[in-house]
């Protein structure tokens, strides 16, 4: 009896050993490095979950080129060194075919460097630095999210349509804050030469109390304010805006203010009347494709998808459809196939521009408002700013890479 048991175990192990490499050759391996601990997880979990949902669907239909897509995740803890070594481990030990991830721009740039060296395609899913596909772009890096340059142009395009003349700029005193503020302001001045900047305030990242900043801005009496905060400070700032009545006294623009990930934690305490931009809302665009996506996501995870879900889904679609287009699982052919590829998405068709590897995503500018039936605020009066309108030209990109 005992001998038989051992025989079974040995047989099972032998089978595993024989089949494992055979199976590995028939898989497309994706490695995701992202921050899954701390506040940024609010944004990144949606990327991963939507990616998984889409990949499961593709695999259920037989995969691509007869191969299944598998993926593995690593937590970067929002640290560049941890994330970079995780990316290295994924390349050298796990032999991944494709890398994706990171909400941290500095880490995205570091992984992008590694990707160029190792010739592994890398999809940046949530990092907003314009450098990723701008000055530091290369053949192996793709961005499927908006970046600070696009936000600047979109924000300016939306604000230029409004009657404000005297502005104040306030934000987080770090790379993202200044990049967004400069982007909006430079473009706004081009569109509306009569605007005037009354002054600026910059607070430290993680500022505990915004009240003194808000009262100081109010006493300067600008017509409108551009708020350049990102990540962890969005929610606290909006909360302070509500308690001080800032949103009722002063129109202000804040990128990501209308995003679900920002508004949901605030519940009905969110300030109304804030102008914000986002790539996606689960209730907008009101199209069949979006309704279907929301229904599927809700069924799988029991929550509404936030903007990250669209990035995750786009990543899965670009990867699978590029392999189909290339007709073989080979990196260089894959990259050629991604270039110029257009995939369907809940926000309409999205094209990966060949010259800079930046996905052309539409931007939606809306105003926060309470809507009956939801226990958080929603964006209303949504204006669509098409991706083509805010993308820098290929010549500009080429010039910045010199």
């Amino acid at each position: 009896m005992k001998t038989f048991a051992w025989f079974c175990v040995t047989l099972a192990m032998a089978l595993v050993l024989i089949t494992a490499p055979a199976q590995a050759a028939k898989e497309i391996k994706v490695g995701i490095v992202d921050c899954y601990s701390g506040p940024p997880a609010t944004y990144t979990n949606d990327v991963r979950d939507a990616f998984k949902m889409e990949v499961d669907k593709i695999n259920a239909a037989g995969g691509v080129l007869g191969r299944k897509i598998v993926f593995t995740t690593r937590d970067s803890k929002f640290k560049v060194d941890i994330g970079l070594s995780a990316a290295k481990e994924l390349i050298y030990r796990e032999n991944v075919d494709i890398l994706m991830g990171t909400i941290n721009s500095a880490l995205a740039l570091a992984i992008s460097d590694l990707a160029a060296k190792e010739k592994v395609p890398f999809f940046a899913t949530f990092s907003k630095s314009a450098k990723i596909t701008g000055a530091k772009g290369h053949r192996y890096v793709f961005s499927i999210t908006e970046n600070t340059a696009l936000v600047g142009k979109a924000g300016a395009a939306g604000l230029a349509k409004r009657p404000y003349k005297k502005y104040w700029i306030a934000g987080d005193d770090y790379e993202y804050g200044h990049a967004v503020a400069d982007g909006v302001w430079d473009n706004l001045k081009k569109l509306r030469p009569d605007v005037e900047l009354l002054g600026q305030s910059w607070w430290k990242v993680g500022e505990p109390d915004f009240t003194p900043y808000i009262t100081a801005i109010l006493s300067a009496k600008p017509d409108a304010v551009i708020i350049a905060t990102g990540g962890r400070d969005c929610v606290p700032f909006l909360k302070a805006a509500k308690t001080t009545g800032f949103n009722e006294r002063m129109p202000f623009f804040m990128h990501t203010a209308t995003e679900l990930s920002t508004l949901k934690p605030l519940g009905l305490d969110g300030p109304e009347g804030v102008i914000g931009t986002s790539n996606y809302f689960f209730y907008y665009p009101d199209s069949e494709a979006n309704r279907q996506f929301v229904a599927e996501f809700k069924k799988a995870y029991n929550r509404e998808p936030a903007v990250g879900a669209v990035y995750g889904m786009l990543a899965a679609r670009f990867i699978s459809q590029a392999y189909l287009k290339a007709g073989k699982a080979e990196t260089e052919a894959f990259i050629d196939a991604v270039e110029g590829l257009t995939v369907d998405s809940p926000v309409g068709p999205v094209t990966m521009r060949a010259c800079d590897h930046q996905a052309t995503l539409p931007m939606f500018m809306g105003v926060t408002k309470k809507v009956a039936g939801y226990d958080f605020l929603m964006a209303t009066d949504i204006v669509t700013i098409p991706g083509e309108e805010v993308m820098p030209s290929c010549e500009e990109i080429a010039a910045s890479r010199k």
Binding site: A170, S201, G206, P208, T211, T215, A216, G245, L266, G267
Partner: protein, 286 residues
Amino acid sequence: MQQVLVGLSRTTILFIVASGLSLVLGVLRIPNVAHGSLYMIGAFVTYTVATVFGQSAAGFFIALVVAPLVVALISFLVERGLFCHLYEREHLMLLLFTFSFTLVFGDLVKLIWGSDYRSLTAPEFLQGAFSIQGMPFPRYNLFLLIIGPIVAAGLWFLTNRTKIGKIARAAAVDREMVGAVGINVSWVFAAVFVIGCYLAGLGGALVAPTQNITQGMDHAIIIEAFLIVIIGGLGNIWGALLGALIFGLTDSIGILLWPQFAIVFPYVAVVTVLLFRPQGLLKSTW
């Protein structure tokens, strides 16, 4: 005017937290780095208790009472279980020991409450803002302005009018002598430690509705609290009040005068004070 009032309400929180730190530092000679973690725990417990009561006004005030007591209980257990065996060690050891507690408490908070933001609403009648000279002044900040002096008066009463306060002050100056006259110094220390930590919890509870309750709020406050204690004079509660005033007011007025570089104002004030009075503004008990 507006800016001064806003600065003063921030001062309230800073004073409450820093006075607790100063008390422990003065009497027990423990540079309690974990003080900020207790403040964070206070905020999280406030959130939980208030949520249990459906974030109603009554729930908020119950939380305001319960949360600091929970923090006090935790600190009591830690003091009796661990700290009381370590008083004779050198400061560096104590510093490292309390630092290890910031890590333990930080992970504990992560385990219990997760890494998401928590948001607490102030009771209905404390929401919104008054208009003073056409500028908004949040009602909750006015509430803080009322609480601040009450806490200060309570502390004054405790240290000057009660027996334990007097013993604690005596123990701060010469603990061996206090022990020699037949007083159980160990229990006096425990009481002072618990009161100091209670204040951290109270600060956390009071700050909860004004900001998002999140990991990392412990580090932000502990640095400011230490700076305040240092410029005020180590271990001197009134020094903590003075330090908190300087810190809170330079911060809010700096924002009005020079918004682009407002971040540096309180630190410039700290450096200036230390240049002229390296021992702190008021008499240190060290």
